[in-house]
């Protein structure tokens, strides 16, 4: 072995420095685009809105003030942010379950049809449309006309069935769910693709053995397939949670966060670019990161477990 080492040029030997040299480009990019902006955002979240002093300057006399944490006072307790938290929770619950269940269902069913690639391609297609495009498309679908004709397909159907047209995007009880449907439509394809790959990985011997032993298709699905692909399901779910926490485009395009559909990321954008409250926007960004980090840690951990199992 020692003789081998001497034949390797010095620069290629794994000393203390060489690995860092290989990492350097990546580290530089990470520092410039993640670490520095991240730290700066953190700093800005404690500054006032014009970045001329500390956040305590934003306090209004006679109201509760959190001093240097005043931006977080807004980000954590203001009414609009509470609405945003609640809505993000709705998004997580309904969009994540919606995409994963639908994705799983389609993956299992598509596995059994002759035209599997076409079926999957159709389901996957919305992923190729930009969020903004999807928002505009669905805005037309949900259109509420005040006249006789309804150009929105949903209201056209409702009217054709003898109902009264509904203003889908402004009714406070239903509008967030209408937006979630758009999200589900867009992301089901993503879940389906990954879950389908996992299902293909379930060994056919076990499945056949179960069927030979007299298991019904349902039992095969519940008792064998699901446990086998559970790690993948978890990874897909956590990925979707991270995704949904950052949901912005659909809400921005379709309602602009009005009518009680506000979400965290949209509020961040509004504070930054329509109100120019840099400090508040930074504080919301920090809160958003803090909410996402646990999901990411969980995700990475599960992913490692899954890798080590192979």
């Amino acid at each position: 072995m020692a003789s081998n080492d001497s034949q390797v040029p010095a620069i290629m030997r794994q000393g203390k420095i060489a690995p860092w040299l290989y990492l350097l480009p990546a580290l530089l990019v990470m520092t410039a685009f993640i670490v520095y902006p991240g730290l700066n955002t953190f700093l800005l979240s404690f500054r006032n809105n014009a970045n001329t002093g500390w956040a305590g300057d934003n306090c209004v006399a006679g109201q509760t003030c959190w001093g240097i944490f005043e931006n977080f006072h807004y980000a954590l307790t203001s009414e609009i942010m509470l609405t945003a938290f609640l809505n993000n929770l709705k998004w997580i619950v309904f969009m994540v379950t919606g995409t994963v269940i639908l994705g799983l269902l389609i993956a299992v069913l598509a596995d059994r049809v002759k035209y599997e690639p076409i079926a999957k391609a159709i389901i996957f297609l919305p992923m190729a449309i930009s969020f903004v495009g999807a928002g505009v498309i669905w805005k037309f679908m949900y259109n509420f006309g005040t006249g006789e004709t309804q150009i929105g397909i949903l209201n056209a159907v409702v009217v054709a069935l003898g109902g009264k047209p509904v203003s889908w995007l402004t009714e406070p009880q239903i509008n967030t769910f209408m937006l979630i449907i758009v999200g589900v439509w867009m992301w089901t394809g993503f879940c389906m693709t990954i879950l389908a790959a996992a299902i293909k990985g379930v060994s056919t011997e076990i499945l056949e053995a179960a069927r030979v032993d007299g298991a019904t298709e349902w039992m095969v699905f519940i008792r064998i397939m699901i446990p086998q692909i559970l790690p993948t399901i978890t990874v897909v779910m956590t990925t979707m949670v991270i995704n949904v926490l950052k949901i912005f485009d659909i809400v921005y395009v379709m309602t602009g966060g009005n009518y009680g559909t506000e979400v965290i990321a949209n509020r961040m954008y509004k504070e930054m670019y329509s109100s120019f409250n840099t400090g508040r926007a930074a504080a919301i960004a920090i809160v958003l990161i803090l909410v996402i980090v646990p999901a990411m840690i969980f995700n990475i951990r599960r992913f490692r477990e899954q890798e080590s199992m192979r």
Binding site: G38, L44, V60, F144, T146, I242, G256
Partner: protein, 443 residues
Amino acid sequence: MNKKVWKMIAVMAILSMAIVACKPAATPTAAPVVQPTAAVVEPTKPMAGAIDCTGVTAGDEISMLYQWSGTEEAALNAILKPLVDACGIVIKPESTRDQALLDTKVQAGTPPDIAFWNVTQLIQYQDKLQPMDVLGANANNYASFFTDPGTINGKWLGLPVKADIKTIIWYSPVVFEAKGYTVPTTWDELDALVEKMVANGDVPWSMGMESGDATGWTGSDFIQDILLVQQGPKYVNDLMTGAVPYNDAGVVKAYETYGKWAMDPKYTVGGAQGTLSTGFLDAIYKVFSDPPEAMMVKQSGFAGGEVAKQYTDLVYGTDFDFFPVPGAQGLQGGADWMMAFNDTPAVRALVAYLSSELGGANWAKATFDLSPNKGANGNYVDPSLIKKGAALAETKGFTSDIGDTIPGGFGSAEWTAIVSYVNGGNLADALAAAAKVQAEALK
């Protein structure tokens, strides 16, 4: 094999998401103070009709940022052509509706020489702008209610170049005549007219205000006009300075007046949901469709152009026309403000030209909305601009949009209040939330 490929895709997708998760916020950096490059020379009084090119060398560039495009941009070029031809100035324009671009440029220390933007930016960038009087702007050509909003902490920073009046109501003279309605001249007459229309089974108003993340601005315009009727311009200015809180009794009354119409399908197309979900452009069209869905729409001067575009066979003056909101004491309007970040001879020539009588006249002739410059009077060629220009020349007061004037997100707080009120929310709560933002912004 297949499994591996999909796993890799999954890993890549997850990693890319992880990277995106740490979305960086914008990082403002201190902009270097821009020093005037030219020595301060006594502005020579240009003769009316002459263009002053003092100090400009042919080929000097002016970088510009504005929100206009298409025909608007063409109109601006027509207005600037005499200056370009006389002085050999090269205009380097950039057109965007994205204010973030302007913010980024200013924060990076590379602002455009000239920006045409909103009055709020005069406050936002007051430390970075060059005063208009130093640049040689002619204040005599502007009424005080046009120079005052552009004067921040005693410095005259913004030149209003283009204005539009909002305190007007569009209607169809043909339909009015056929149905026996007459144009009201007092608020009570308007109120009576509205009730008469309802009694006849006509829907008086088209109040749709959907406009993406700016939904509500049509409503805030309407409410400000009601305030001008019920309380007058001083009250509106007091709201802007914070002397009157936004949940004052007068504001509540104006909201209730507005809400009575905006939330009832008898008074407005589609009732509350129609108001919330009808786009502001569709709301204009509904008054001029055949048959009309509503009798009147309160909308700024630009509505006439939209009607002409949508219904090319309609003629201004017979098929569509406007009347001032009856009883309004003063006009509400929006203006685009010219602001200068750099002091160069070319910028001085531009400021002097646009603030001169000739500049005002050329602006009027270009049919690019109204010019606050007195030189515009009598020079409009478009019939609707002639009428609007006359209203502007006669007005005793001109208030800009409350939401545009108060910084710190008051505009969007105001819209939120209107949207939530029309959507069935509690009025007192909605106004209290807006008043809180008002107090925070103006403390």
